[in-house]
């Protein structure tokens, strides 16, 4: 074997390293480009596809009675682990001295009980309360997709934010980044988990489980790109808000009758 001096050795090692790196990147990039091209071709070939579907979710807080049916239905439909919630209901109780009491016992899985007597003794008799259902906001500029280091969080063509649980490493960065506390690490799977707007149902033309069971129609789900859909009409005819709008995540879950105290 030819003896190598140090200069040759260094040139060769560094050269091989650089080549491997550049070539590896090229392969990855090309693969991605090809994939993009393929999906582009697919979408182009389906020109006669009926209409674009963009899902939207509307919560009418004025209607919610805090029965917790949605939470139970969600748990049953999606096998949500004990102690975690893909959706929950919060109760805001107002007292004469201006104090607001917020609670959500077990995420309202069993509904609500009247405010405890001892609270009434210290704070007075509540004069007003309302319920606010919460779930994933499927934001347009969502921080969870932005921060996911492995690209496990992604947006579907319908605008639904999902998690590829086969790719997720369970670092919990998305859990930290979600301003709404909708994500958690599934203790059984070790990966991130959250509300999917029941993607397995909605892509089959069904409603999400929580919407299906709501007895007062406080949850409305539908195609917002269809201007004649129920949700589109409601969005048009009402003053709607989103949670934590100041963070600029542009949530797609919208609310009617949201109070400024709700964060």
């Amino acid at each position: 074997m030819k003896k190598m001096n140090r200069r040759e050795f260094l040139t060769k090692t560094v050269g091989t390293g650089v080549k491997t790196f550049v070539f590896g990147n090229l392969v990855c990039t090309t693969a991605e480009l090809l994939q993009d091209k393929k999906s582009f071709a697919n979408s182009a070939s389906k020109k006669e596809e009926p209409e674009k579907v963009i899902f939207g979710f509307l919560v009418d807080t004025r209607k919610c009675i805090g029965c917790g049916s949605c939470v139970r239905a969600d748990k049953a439909e999606n096998g949500v682990p004990e102690g975690f919630f893909r959706t929950w209901v919060e109760r805001y109780t107002f007292f004469p001295n201006g104090r607001v009491l917020v609670d959500s016992p077990k995420g309202a899985e069993d509904g609500f009980w009247p405010v405890k007597e001892d609270k009434e003794r210290t704070l007075g008799k509540p004069y007003h309360h309302y319920f606010v259902p919460k779930l994933c906001n499927h934001c347009i500029d969502t921080p969870c997709i932005q921060v996911c280091p492995v690209g496990a969080s992604f947006e579907t063509k319908e605008g639904v934010i999902l998690i590829d649980q086969k790719r997720c490493v369970g670092c919990a960065y998305c859990v930290q980044a979600c301003p709404f506390g909708t994500r958690y690490i599934n203790p059984e799977k070790g990966v991130a988990d959250k509300c999917t707007w029941c993607y397995h149902r909605t892509t089959q033309g069904l409603k999400p489980a929580c919407v299906e069971v709501c007895p007062v129609k406080a949850r409305i789900f539908g195609n917002i790109s269809d201007s004649e859909s129920e949700i589109s009409k409601l969005l048009r005819d009402n003053r709607v808000q989103v949670l934590k709008s100041y963070l600029g995540t542009r949530p797609k879950t919208r609310y009617i009758g949201l109070d400024s105290g709700v964060i």
């Binding site: 996911c148 280091p149 790719r167 960065y173 930290q176 506390g181 690490i185 799977k189």
Partner: protein, 414 residues
């Protein structure tokens, strides 16, 4: 599963603290790496002769800590077996996705730099080491290159300067990026701040210098060797400077929060004054900042009136306190940021887990590993200086008592 004590209204999914002790340890370890590397660069690149006694040690220390920087992360991941996804399918918009690449680059730079610094020793030992096996090992470490002529060493030095010119920004990136991981989370007002990378970087430098100062003095004291007071004095000077800037910026950050008093200040104020009072106000800001900065200042200002022994003791104590300060800072950021709910209406208590995958014992074990590794390095390479410091038993018998420090001529001219 943990059940955490909650008070007020905590969002139902926030029933536990996700990032725990291991995530406190991770920036602590990478911080020491960055700081130690900067110390070694001050000598190797910027020719700060005072730091010569610790220049090699700090390089090895940076390497030893860097080797274990991934352990806390692996221990924390829900699916550690998929860890490499971070390099296989990195998401370009994620700061965290940069970790694998920044880490790998830095590890390679550091390894090459150590090899270049130690090359003459490795070559010498590959010829004069006491046993055949060791000579073979050193030969392997030398990668078959035994040219240690003057011109060869000079070109080594050029490569080293070039590497350091990448290495210093890489060290800054590695740690600035850790700060960015927290600083860029707008969902969390305790984290979200453009100051975060700066604070992380400065505290990294502080912890690195402090660790070098502590280890240098401790090892020399235990081995009964003389401590080079010029070196400790220089280290104390740098430590003082960086500690002042670091604490000043940490203070500015909290004052800024308080002065702006955004809607989240209510919860942050409560956090600082109750939940983090001991770890933040008392430990991080008072005891472990004021005392060491004062002590270091005194040791530097009154250096002519104080004996070396006293000054070194003052430096040692200050460095220990600053090591605690930086650890407290990591704790207050990582754990503190998760002790309040995103409802801004409630708090969680963090109970330290002792056993278990992310517990205190595992954290201790991981933190111990770099020191054990340094111990192994010390058996192979001289930690402090070049060849004259080899223990005699390392070398073949029959070599002259006083080693000739000029390196042997290359066997085959390059």
């Amino acid at each position: 599963m943990h059940h955490y004590f909650v008070e007020g209204f905590v969002l139902p999914n926030q029933n536990q603290i996700w990032w725990t002790i291991l995530i406190v340890l991770y920036p602590y370890i990478t911080g020491i790496v960055a700081g130690a590397f900067i110390i070694s660069s001050l000598y190797h690149v910027f020719n700060k002769e005072d730091l010569k006694p610790v220049s090699r040690f700090s390089l090895l220390m940076a390497f030893a800590f860097l080797l274990f920087a991934t352990c806390p992360l692996l221990g924390h991941l829900g699916r550690p077996e998929r860890a490499l996804n971070i390099m296989l399918t990195p998401n370009p918009t994620s700061a965290m996705a940069g970790f694998g690449f920044i880490y790998a680059t830095y590890l390679i730079i550091l390894a090459i730099e150590i090899w270049l610094v130690y090359r003459p020793d490795i070559v010498y030992l590959s010829k004069h080491s006491s046993s055949m096996l060791l000579r073979k090992l050193y030969w392997l470490l030398s990668l078959g290159v035994d040219n240690v002529s003057k011109s060869s060493l000079e070109s080594d030095h050029k490569v080293m300067i070039f590497l350091a010119s990448i290495g210093i920004p890489a060290a800054c990136t590695l740690h600035g990026y850790v700060g960015f991981i927290f600083g860029a989370i707008k969902a969390n007002p305790w984290w979200s701040s453009p100051m975060m990378p700066v604070i992380f970087l400065l505290s990294a430098i502080v912890s690195g210098i402090a660790m070098v100062l502590v280890c240098y003095q401790a090892i020399h004291y235990l081995k009964g060797r003389a401590i080079d007071s010029q070196c400790t004095q220089a280290l104390m000077g740098y430590l003082w400077l960086f500690a002042i800037i670091d604490v000043a910026i940490e203070l500015l950050e909290i004052i800024n929060h308080a002065y702006m008093a955004n809607e989240d200040w209510e919860v942050l104020h409560e956090l600082v004054m109750t939940k983090l009072f001991v770890s933040y106000v008392v430990i991080q800001m008072l005891v472990c900042s004021v005392i060491p900065i004062g002590l270091l200042g005194a040791a530097i200002i009154f250096r002519k009136r104080l004996s070396d022994r006293i000054r070194n003791a003052m430096g040692f104590l200050s460095a220990m306190l600053l090591l605690i300060q930086v650890l407290a800072m990591r704790w207050n950021v990582v754990i503190g940021g998760q002790m309040f709910s995103k409802s801004f209406r409630g708090f969680l208590r963090f109970d330290v887990e002792v056993f278990g995958r992310e517990g205190l014992l595992v954290a201790f074990a991981i933190f111990l590993m770099p020191f054990i590794t340094l111990g192994i390095f010390a058996r192979l390479l001289p930690l402090w200086g070049p060849i004259e410091t080899y223990p005699k038993k390392w070398l073949r018998k029959g070599l002259p008592e006083k080693q000739n420090l000029t390196f042997p001529e290359p066997a085959h001219p390059s």
